[in-house]
Symmetry: C2
């Protein structure tokens, strides 16, 4: 009972801080998510220490502190995971497959360029400028490849632009990017283990990922359309919503099991139900889950920021350089692939693809566990992941002119008709 | 990431099993909650072993198996806790203070009789029939005192009788019962530690609990009424619902911190917002949280049932005797206090107060940690807690005539207008 009571108090505190900070930032006409992230930083174990525990990776890498209890750490991880899954499910509900397909080629280009340019920049800097071993440079490059689309999706939703063309390109590119990133990680993991890369194995992983995504996107939508009448025959309460949540959890699990990010599965699940969303008020019903769980994700994300990393001068220099390259890489790569859409959209797509979040950390953790990334380089990846995530909300807000297009509509959409407003 | 992925798969499986079993039982015109409990038993670590881990207490007490990972256990505990908190919050939203006050005297009598009779029966049986030491008998008696009202509330809601007079008496009695149970536990814990009972200390605990309950019920309702206009001025989305959830988490935390059950705080929070519920569609908005989290509570509760306990003949005999006394104690005590309401209501109140659930286990755990309850007696309390919980849904359903009064309305109420139907 004691753990449950402690966690309950932490959840209350996180929720309170998230909502107070969110209210404050809404009044400043900034996205609430920035407030939630900052609330997490302040409450977290590296500042006030009122919630949470330092991540094992950070501790081992940097401070040699007592490793925090596995249980608390795992609970926070699960709550955060559920939060970001619900976030991407709701974003998926807003995204019809035809919307993504209509920007498919562009999204593919953005994803591919957003993988190649940051990888090359990261590799070149570490291998040539710092002069570290090739395998280490390859891992750092790989950590700079991934996109963690959660924060961008949240900011776009907060600002009321989640159904815009640029949002569709970003979401489509994030799905493709995740598949590409997984393939790259499989290759470099094999290299890191000193093995040769079996083309067969990599092909298998790639085929699995592509097949899963294509199958869910196409067959799932067909099934949802065809079986929707059966939903009404179920006796359980709120059957369409319940089945939607079930598919969300199921596809998130499958995605995680085959090596994709769980949020990709959740996003696809949302897309499967996008066409039934209005009929069954799915968004309106998923929104309370969102209000409860999503702020926890951002507060927990914020709480993992160890600001003390920024106090080590030489480390900070390298980290800032890698961060700059990570931002420039996505801006240039994704931006170039988006050329012709007008400078504002190009910039939004480049910035929107910038956050590395937990995806960059996963690569760093694999590298650290294979002992090909030393502690200092691990720390630089942590800083890079944090900064690329934190800079995005204010910059995106600026690019959209400092405030939401239709603040009233965004604030009230849940009450009004359960749909996110168009641009 | 691995723990998070495993837990995600477990959550998916629990949710799937809960909804399939719920659908099946709805079709059999039985409360869905029975299906959810059975799904938990079948999936749990003592049967298929597809989800969860054995509780530490059960293992240490009985099988000497490897203690399961602390992390998984803690995550399940937190998810179950959130589920039952949301359940009681929704029940509270249905319960106006005036409803409880109008049955206040009756509820008080039911609670007091429901504490005294089971305690005396349990004490007498263990001390006189089994001939064990006095302190052990006192602990077993105390474990038979508490009421775990979650399952009863859920069955009454499933059957559409949550706003009936008998439901109000049960809910009011459960609140009072929890305060009494806490005072009794404080006394016997002091006795178990070999100390003398300081009347001052016990008085402090009692005053704290009563003051908290009275303050929240009266001042909270006043505040909600008075400050409700400010809710509309907040910029955060869905502010009334968000503030409701905030108060739910806050009061649940405070209740747990001062030694009451967290669900009592959640119930009081719901009651505070009961009068604003219609205006802001609070129930309708809390319902998705309910659909997601509450089934997890019941599946997890079911998964903790170790059916192998029932294979040990002599242990089972004692456990069945204690279970019978636990049921008879509440039936006779609460029933007598409810006399004059008609035999059906008397029976429903007696049965409704019967489940000991996790509250009985808490007392047993305290006794075990003080080493005044031997392993076999701990096991009998586990069996008693499980059986008093499992027998209630089918008996209550029978007492209400085998099916809900308005099945359509119950099934559809969320869609219709967000209110649980009246009798």
């Amino acid at each position: 009972m004691e753990t449950a009571t402690t966690v309950l108090a932490d959840i209350f505190l996180m929720f309170l801080a998230a909502k107070v900070a969110g209210e404050l930032f809404e009044r400043l006409r900034q996205p609430a998510v920035i407030g939630e992230l900052l609330a997490g930083v302040i409450l977290g174990p590296y500042a006030l220490g009122w919630i949470g525990v330092p991540t094992a990776g950070m501790i081992e890498a940097l401070h040699g502190q007592e490793v925090a209890t596995e249980a608390m750490h795992a609970i926070f991880e699960v709550l955060a995971e559920l939060g970001v899954i619900v976030l991407l499910f709701l974003v998926g509900l807003e995204t019809r497959l035809s919307d993504i397909l209509s920007v498919g080629v562009r999204a593919g280009l953005v994803a591919i360029a957003g993988v190649i340019v940051p990888f090359l920049l990261g590799y070149a800097f570490v291998a040539l400028v710092l002069g570290t071993p090739t395998i280490e440079a390859i891992f750092i490059g790989t950590a700079m490849v991934a996109t963690s689309v959660g924060i961008t999706a949240r900011v776009l939703a907060d600002l009321g632009h989640i159904r815009s063309d640029e949002a569709r390109i970003i979401l489509g590119a994030a799905v493709i990017d995740d598949i590409l990133g997984m393939i790259v990680l499989a290759i470099v993991s094999a290299l890191g283990q000193g093995g040769t890369v079996s083309l067969g194995q990599i092909g298998l992983i790639a085929v699995q990922a592509v097949a899963f995504t294509a199958f869910v996107a196409l067959a799932g939508r067909h099934a949802a359309r065809r079986w929707s009448i059966h939903l009404e025959r179920l006796r359980i309460r709120n059957a369409p919503f319940v089945v939607g949540v079930l598919v969300m959890l199921g596809l998130a699990t499958i995605a995680a099991e085959i090596g994709l990010a769980a949020i990709i599965g959740a996003f696809l699940a949302g897309m499967v139900f996008a066409e039934l969303s209005e009929q069954y008020e799915l968004e309106q019903k998923a929104l309370p889950l969102y209000e409860f769980l999503v702020p926890l994700f951002f507060v927990i994300t914020g709480s993992r920021v160890d600001w003390r990393l920024f106090l080590d001068g030489s480390l900070l220099g390298i980290a800032l350089a890698i961060t700059a390259l990570a931002i420039v890489g996505k801006l240039v790569g994704c931006g170039a692939a988006a050329l012709g859409l007008g400078w504002r959209r190009v910039a939004i797509i480049g910035v929107g693809m910038t956050p590395r979040g937990e995806v960059g950390l996963i690569v760093a953790n694999v590298g650290a566990s294979l002992a090909v990334i030393p502690n200092e380089m691990y720390s630089t990846v942590v800083i890079m992941s944090v900064l690329t995530t934190l800079v995005v909300p204010p910059i995106l807000t600026l690019l959209y002119g400092g405030q939401s297009a239709e603040p009233e509509a965004v604030t009230d959409y849940a009450v009004a008709d359960g749909r996110l407003p168009d641009l």
